[in-house]
Symmetry: none
Subunit: 404 residues, 2 copies
């Protein structure tokens, strides 16, 4: 027999009570000093409220996937939600659709599509249609909504510049179709080819889409062809309710994180535009849910901009909101990130992520502040992020004993 998985443990051990859990995810929270001997963004920021939580709580460093592995937003969040990111893979098409807020259903196949330019013989002259502007491309995607395929519902949603999402909805559409982008110019796009029996119908529908799309774009000089990549179905994640017995809600500004939460079966609340509005929503729905995922984007975007000072400011803005969360008296508060985004690197990175957990029984560790250095010495040690939900449940009194 294979060993029990953490999901099997969670399913069989969870109990329900009144204890509420708040997981505040500061995207890309972890950082690096610019001068190797100096301070990180989090260490530089003045964070009296987070420091106070650190004093009450227990700290640690979470490893998003495995040592050395830099995660994208998808795997980073799945791990925080307790799904092994190496087991639950989100296809590229499904993630792209999720990222623009398209709610994938069980009969959907999502595809990342590119506009391209074709010469008179049908060979690709530019794989990205000269990175056509969003203003020019959006009307073309609308035009593609005229495509009709028998037995298949077609959705076309613009993303940005030459990129759009195609969703094919229909019974029995497999997600295993190879990319049509030949990754070269001077050759025609490949025909959609199914990699398994159940994806034959998908490949036929995709071919029909391409054929009609080319007719609809025939008079266009900027983009007269399309390529399709990353065919994928919605990942099949067991829900928070099923795994943890939690009524879970997500409060996020950006579509990607709203979509990821939805994949885990969370209810997505409102249309907040600011952290203050997010916390308004938290307070307004406090009685209705057991678990709240709050997503804060700007620690990542400032890191990706390489703007150390801006990331520091964004952390301080986050800190200022902490008292409003504490005032709701959750049984468990977690503050963490889905990965590090050091402004030094201007990108996501593999570095373990500062993590803080507060409850009445967390065995606090004498930490004085919330920082990478303090987290390195913290009571949670270094742990894989996929275990964080078990710790959350345990601290909420929501996990019973394993074995007698």
């Amino acid at each position: 027999m294979p060993p029990l998985t953490t999901h099997e443990l969670a399913r069989s051990l969870h109990v329900r009570n009144e204890a509420k859990i708040v997981m505040l995810v500061a995207d890309g929270l972890g950082g690096l000093p610019h001068d190797p001997a100096g301070l990180t963004e989090l260490e530089t920021a003045r964070t009296p409220h987070l420091d106070q939580l650190a004093q009450r709580g227990v700290l640690g460093l979470s490893i998003p996937v495995k040592p050395g592995i830099t995660p994208g937003s998808g795997p980073g969040h799945l791990a925080l939600f307790g799904y092994d990111p190496l087991e639950y893979l989100i296809g590229r098409g499904a993630l792209e659709a999720t990222g623009i807020g398209f709610e994938l259903g069980p009969n959907d196949v999502a595809v990342r599509a590119n506009f391209c330019t074709l010469d008179a013989t049908g060979c690709i002259t530019d794989r990205r249609a000269g990175r056509i502007s969003t203003e020019e491309a959006a009307p073309l995607t609308h035009r593609l909504r005229q495509v009709r395929i028998e037995g298949v519902e077609v959705f076309v949603e613009h993303v940005k510049e030459h990129r759009f999402v195609l969703v094919l909805r229909g019974e029995g559409l497999g997600g295993n179709v190879l990319d049509t982008d030949p990754q070269a110019i001077g050759v025609p796009p490949l025909a959609p080819r199914a990699a398994d029996e159940s994806s034959q119908a998908t490949a036929r529908a995709a071919a029909e889409f391409v054929s009609q799309a080319c007719r609809l774009l025939a008079d266009q000089s900027k983009a007269n062809g399309v390529t399709l990549r990353g065919f994928s179905r919605r990942p099949d994640l067991p829900s928070y309710e099923e795994l943890y017995g939690l009524r879970a809600a997500a409060i996020a500004v950006y579509p990607m994180y709203r979509g990821l939460a939805r994949l885990a079966g969370m209810r997505v609340l409102g249309q907040p535009q600011t952290l203050a509005e997010q916390i308004d929503l938290l307070a307004a729905h406090w009685a209705e849910y057991d678990f709240f995922f709050l997503h804060y984007k700007y620690t990542d975007s400032t890191g990706e901009d390489g703007d150390f000072a801006a990331k520091v400011r964004r952390i301080e803005e986050l800190d200022a909101m902490v008292p409003r969360i504490v005032a709701l008296r959750p049984a468990v508060i977690i503050v963490t990130g889905d990965h590090s985004t050091p402004s030094l690197l201007r990108s996501h990175s593999w570095h373990p992520v500062p993590t803080l957990l507060v409850s009445d029984c967390c065995r606090s560790d004498d930490s004085a502040e919330f920082s990478e250095r303090a987290c390195l010495r913290g009571g949670l040690g270094q742990f894989e992020a996929k275990y964080l939900m078990l710790l959350a449940l345990a601290n909420a009194g929501r996990l019973s004993k394993f074995g007698a």
Copy 2:
């Protein structure tokens, strides 16, 4: 679907660049204090250059296999090279052949062979032929090279005292043959018996070898029989090039480590006799490779001798060479060991191994020195050695993001 393995991650995420990685393995580096409250060998040694690296870098303790497991050289190195030592097993025969520098091919079965003594009825009287001296045994192994087996090429290489290596080379020889050593005296050696269909031919060839060997040794009083153990084929390891996209070179004095590196697809450079010569080779071949494995034996051999002071001296000798490596300006320097060899125990041990990694983005951890105590507080935490290569690649900018 089973979770992605770290090898699948490495294969799909690695990118190539100009960044060079040096992994300096001080065999058996970890130690123990002789007085429990005292210092280890590494803590006693004066190591200004390693301490300087520790100040720039990040420290940790690597667990060679699993907590409590003491590895041999094979698993210890496989883990450092990024192969799960519980998945990639090197058969005893293959390891013995590797240890004497015999380069195993894909059609080879390697066997650990012992000289023994047999009485007139063919029963074993001494399983190790009275630990016959190397001087007496070597000519006997040469005599066994007269054995001829149809369709099979036979190699006989002396190891030490009563031990030699037999390699059978031929198409379709399976490696699954049971030991012929009955582990008892007063009984005859067992006949070679195949444990699977594909090893039948191997068992027949082995029986023929034993029969001819006994005839060739019939006039010998010190050793007139042989037993065969640890039949095994060369382990099938994916190469560094394939896994990591690294052109890898090994610079080692001793055949065992040269052989282990060769199994991972590294090029073995020169015939160095000293660490200084090893670093000459490193400098001479600097442009040709991306990854260099340098092996330093004497921290292990002095530990096995139980000579605390000698191990301290050997660590200081290693430290003296560090500036020559640093001067080459590798993007990543790693200093570690394949296991601990505390002189207190006079043997390999399970204790986690001091490990140091330096790069421009390693998130240094305020360590002041390279020691077991500092490593315990280090930013890499305690981690399984098999993840070290992922950390090396990440710090070299050679791993792209997992998922979008």
